[in-house]
Symmetry: C2
Subunit: 117 residues, 2 copies
């Protein structure tokens, strides 16, 4: 059966760890708990000055920026992102998202469902 | 290498067919042309009064509504959707998206990449 949610109903999880993850909230919009067979859709909210870890993993990211401004780290350096930017990070590539703006940076990040924990 | 796109750079494809698909533009934000291995991310824009086909297929949809108001057809009838609504349509379930508002209805729709044509 179709599952319809409002974003406001999805509780955030604070991913900040005091070291390399700063000011990061995550909401799993579609994931294993919904019986999703292939991919998971997550919403990330980075506070001003916040960042995800600079890391590498064997799966890809499909990112769509909904709000705010920031950068994504790529092998060619940091590239500006903002509302309406789409980023495909291929498997095995080093990357990091940073909020460089005055307000929240919100983006959707899709991954293969088996990696959503 | 990471692929960074602005939505304005992605050309729309008019999916309208004069019968059961009305006022539907599709943009493939992440898909086979990007080397995406698992999933494709598409942006759909439905004009006022527009609708996708009422149909069933063997793969799931992961939908996030970005703008506008409409409905999604489910086995329990039509459910209202709007900005910030997330819809998971499981494989094999009959469904349709309709724009019931005065402006465009925009939503992201993620599918397994093998079904993106």
């Amino acid at each position: 059966m179709a599952i319809v949610k409002r974003l406001a109903e999805v509780p955030p999880r604070d991913m900040s760890n005091g070291t390399d993850v700063v000011g990061v909230l995550k909401r799993v919009l579609i994931g294993p708990a919904d019986g999703a067979p292939t991919f998971a859709v997550r919403l990330f909210t980075l506070a001003p000055g916040g960042n995800t870890p600079a890391h590498t993993h064997p799966f890809e990211h499909g990112v769509v920026v909904l709000r705010g401004t920031g950068t994504v780290l790529t092998p060619n350096g940091r590239v500006p992102i903002g509302e309406g930017t789409t980023v495909f990070v291929p498997p095995g590539e080093h990357h990091q998202f940073q909020n460089t703006g005055p307000g929240p940076l919100e983006f959707l990040c899709v991954i293969p469902v088996g990696y959503e924990t």
